[in-house]
C-alpha cells in the first residue's frame, strides 16, 4: 500500500491521535477519566445519528431531516412518560421510524432527490414538534428515563454503550448482511442494481427508516441527558454535524461505500476539536474558522484520488 493510500485509509485515526496528543501536551486537566467520559458522552448522539447518515450516504443519498426528527421524538416523550418510560421511548423510536419511512417513500417510491425530499421534513418537522409541545420546553423528571442520560452500566455511560452497540450493529449490517451489501451496490450503481433484481426500493426505504430510528434514539438520549424535552433546540444543525462526521470519517458522498468505524472516529474527531477549542477559550469566530480548516484538512487527506 502506498503512503498516500494509507493516509487516505487511516487519516481520521491519525487526526484523532494527533489532536489527542496535542491536548495531552497543551491542555490543562485533559488527562482524567471524568474528562474522557465527558467527551464520549457528548460525542454519542452525533455518533448515533452519523451511523444512520453513513448508511444513507452509502446509497448516494443524504438525510437533512435528522435534527428535526430528534426534535419530534423529544417532543413526544413527555406526552407518554406518564405511561412509563418504556412506552415513551418506544413512541419516540416509532416516530423516528415513521419519519424515516416517509423520507424513504419520497426518495424510493416517488423518486425525489434525497436533499429536497428530506429538506421538507427539516423545515416542517421541527415546526411540528413545536406545535406538539406548544412551543414549550418541558422538564422531564422520571428517574428511570433520566438514567438513560446519566446512568452507568459497568461504569460506562448508557448513551456511550448504546452508541457502541449501534456502531457494532451497523458495522455488521454493512459487512455481513445481504441488506448491507445491497445497500452499497445500490449506492454504487442504482440502475445496474435494479437490473440485478435487487429490491432497490425496499432497501432505500429501509435505509432511511434506520436513519430515522437512529435519530429517534439520539433524540431520546439527548432528552434524557438534558432532563428536558426541548423541541426548539434539540438536534439543531445535527444534520450538518452528522454529515461532517461521516465524510471526515472517509465515506464518500458519492455513495457505494460505507465506513462505519471511520464514521465513529469522525464523530470523535469533531468532538475533540470542539472540546479543544472550548478548553482553550477561543472566541466563536476563531472556533468556526478552525473547524472549517480541520474539516478541509481531514477530507483532503481522505478524498478518493483519481488515477492520473
Amino acid at each position: 500500500m502506498t503512503r498516500t493510500r494509507w493516509l487516505q485509509e487511516y487519516g481520521v485515526y491519525l487526526a484523532v491521535a494527533g489532536l489527542f496528543a496535542f491536548n495531552l501536551l497543551f491542555t490543562e486537566n485533559f488527562v482524567s477519566a471524568a474528562n474522557f467520559r465527558t467527551q464520549l458522552l457528548q460525542a454519542a448522539p452525533v455518533c448515533i445519528v452519523a451511523l444512520g447518515m453513513a448508511l444513507v450516504i452509502g446509497t448516494e443519498g443524504v438525510d437533512l431531516s435528522v435534527g428535526a426528527v430528534m426534535a419530534l421524538s423529544a417532543a413526544l416523550i413527555p406526552l407518554y412518560l406518564g405511561y412509563g418510560p418504556l412506552l415513551a421511548v418506544l413512541v419516540a423510536l416509532v416516530v423516528g421510524l415513521a419519519a424515516g419511512l416517509f423520507n424513504g417513500f419520497l426518495v424510493a417510491q416517488l423518486g425525489i432527490q434525497p436533499i429536497v425530499a428530506t429538506l421538507g421534513l427539516l423545515v416542517g418537522g421541527r415546526g411540528l414538534a413545536l406545535v406538539i409541545a406548544e412551543g414549550k420546553l418541558v422538564e422531564v423528571r422520571s428517574p428511570e428515563f433520566l438514567s438513560l442520560g446519566n446512568g452507568d452500566v459497568l461504569g460506562i455511560p448508557v448513551s456511550v454503550l448504546v452508541a457502541a452497540v449501534l456502531a457494532v450493529g451497523v458495522g455488521l449490517l454493512v459487512q455481513r448482511t445481504t441488506f448491507g451489501r445491497q445497500l452499497v451496490a445500490i449506492g454504487g450503481n442504482r440502475s445496474a442494481s435494479a437490473l440485478a433484481g435487487l429490491p432497490v426500493k425496499r432497501v432505500l426505504i429501509g435505509v432511511y427508516a434506520i436513519c430515522g430510528v437512529l435519530a429517534g434514539v439520539a433524540g431520546v438520549l439527548a432528552t434524557a441527558r438534558l432532563g428536558a424535552s426541548d423541541p426548539a433546540d434539540i438536534g439543531l444543525l445535527m444534520e450538518l454535524s452528522a454529515i461532517t462526521a461521516v465524510v471526515v470519517g472517509g465515506t464518500p458522498l458519492t455513495g457505494g461505500r460505507v465506513r462505519v468505524f471511520g464514521t465513529v472516529m469522525g464523530a470523535v474527531l469533531m468532538q475533540l476539536v470542539r472540546a479543544t477549542l472550548i478548553k482553550h477559550d477561543l472566541p466563536d469566530s476563531a472556533t468556526q474558522m478552525v473547524q472549517a480548516a480541520i474539516i478541509i484538512a481531514a477530507v483532503y487527506v481522505a478524498r478518493e484520488r483519481s488515477t492520473r
Binding site: 437533512l64 425525489i112 461532517t244 476563531a286 474558522m289 472549517a292
Partner: protein, 324 residues
C-alpha cells in the same frame, strides 16, 4: 390551421406545462391567493414581494450555475451575511469601497471553494460546508464577535443601490432582473454555459471532449460567491447597515428554490427562468401564510415544509407523465 398544427400546438403546450411544473403551481397559487385575499394583489404588496424576492434571487442565480455543474454551494448564506457586513464596513471608503470590498472577499471565498472542488476532487457539499463555517467566523472576527454593527452613512450614494426606486419599483428588482437576464444569456448562449451543462451532465465525458472542466467549476463557485456577496451588499444598502444576523439557513432556501424551479440536483439540466419562478413561489407562499395571519408561528414552518414537498412531488409527477 390544419389539424396537425393544432395537434402540434397542443403538444407543445402540454410539454411546456410539464416542464415548468413550478410555473403551473405558481400561477395556481397566485390566482387562489388573489381571490382569497384581496390585499394580496395590491400594487404595494406585489411591489414588496418583488423587492423581497430580488435578494434571494441574486443568491439563487449563482446557486443555479453551481447546481447545473452537479455541485452545491452551502456557503452562500454565510457569504451573503459577510458581504453585507463588508459592504457596510467598506462604506467608509465611499461607493466603491462598499461595492468592491464584499465582491473581492466573497469572490475570493468562492474562488477557493472552486479550486478545492475542481482541483482536489473533494465533495462540494463538504468544501462549502467548511466555508460556511469559515465565512461566519470571519464575519464574527470582523465585528468583534458580532458586537459591532457597521452603519452606512445616511448620505452615502451606495444607499441608492438598495433603496432607490424607478417607476415605484426598487432598484434591487431591476438589478436582479438584469443579472438573471445576463445569467440566462451566459448559460444558453455562450461556450461557458455549454461547458457548465456538460460538466454537470457527465464530467468524465466533458474532460475527454476537451472542455475546461476545472476552469468551469472554479468559475461557477466564484460566481456564486460573488453573487452571494453582492446580494449581501445590496441588502446592506437596503438595510443601511451590515446586519450580522442575516443569512442563517439561506443556503437551504436557495437550494430549495433552484430545485423547485426544475434544476436537477444531479446536474446537467436547469434553467434560470425556473429559479426565478422558484423564488417567486417561495415568497408568494410566505405572503399567503402571512395573509392568513392566524397561523401559529410554529405551524407556519409545518406549512412551508409541507408546501415544499407538495411542489416537488407535483413536479416529479408531471415529469414522469411526460416521460411515460
Amino acid at each position: 390551421m390544419t389539424a396537425t398544427t393544432v395537434q402540434a400546438n397542443r403538444e407543445r403546450w402540454a410539454s411546456l406545462l410539464q416542464r415548468q411544473g413550478a410555473a403551473v403551481v405558481l400561477v395556481v397559487v397566485i390566482v387562489v391567493a388573489w381571490l382569497a385575499f384581496p390585499r394580496f394583489g395590491s400594487l404595494g404588496n406585489l411591489r414588496d414581494l418583488a423587492l423581497q424576492s430580488s435578494f434571494l434571487l441574486v443568491i439563487a442565480l449563482g446557486m443555479t450555475f453551481v447546481i447545473i455543474t452537479g455541485g452545491i454551494d452551502l456557503s452562500v448564506g454565510s457569504v451573503y451575511a459577510l458581504g453585507g457586513v463588508l459592504a457596510a464596513y467598506g462604506s467608509q471608503w465611499g461607493f466603491f469601497g462598499s461595492l468592491l470590498l464584499p465582491l473581492a472577499v466573497c469572490g475570493l471565498i468562492g474562488l477557493i471553494n472552486g479550486i478545492l472542488v475542481a482541483r482536489t476532487g473533494m465533495a462540494p457539499f463538504i468544501v462549502t460546508l467548511a466555508s460556511l463555517l469559515f465565512a461566519r467566523g470571519l464575519l464574527l472576527a470582523i465585528t468583534s464577535e458580532g458586537s459591532t454593527t457597521f452603519k452606512i452613512p445616511g448620505d452615502a450614494f451606495f444607499l441608492q443601490l438598495g433603496q432607490g426606486t424607478f417607476l415605484g419599483i426598487g432598484y434591487p428588482v431591476y438589478i436582479a432582473a438584469a443579472l438573471c437576464l445576463a445569467g440566462g444569456v451566459l448559460l444558453r448562449r455562450t461556450r461557458f454555459g455549454q461547458s457548465v451543462f456538460a460538466t454537470g451532465g457527465s464530467e468524465s465525458s466533458a474532460l475527454l471532449m476537451g472542455l475546461p472542466v476545472a476552469r468551469t467549476k472554479i468559475a461557477v463557485y466564484t460566481m456564486s460567491g460573488l453573487l452571494a456577496g453582492f446580494a449581501g451588499a445590496l441588502t446592506a444598502s437596503y438595510l443601511q447597515s451590515g446586519v450580522t444576523v442575516i443569512g442563517v439557513g439561506t443556503e437551504l432556501d436557495a437550494i430549495a428554490v433552484v430545485v423547485i424551479g426544475g434544476t436537477l440536483l444531479t446536474g446537467g439540466a436547469g434553467t434560470i427562468l425556473g429559479t426565478v419562478i422558484g423564488v417567486g413561489l417561495r415568497n408568494v407562499i410566505q405572503s399567503v401564510i402571512n395573509q392568513i395571519g392566524t397561523l401559529d408561528s410554529n405551524f407556519q414552518s409545518v406549512v412551508s415544509g409541507g408546501f415544499l414537498l407538495v411542489v416537488v412531488v407535483v413536479q416529479r409527477w408531471l415529469a414522469q407523465s411526460r416521460n411515460a
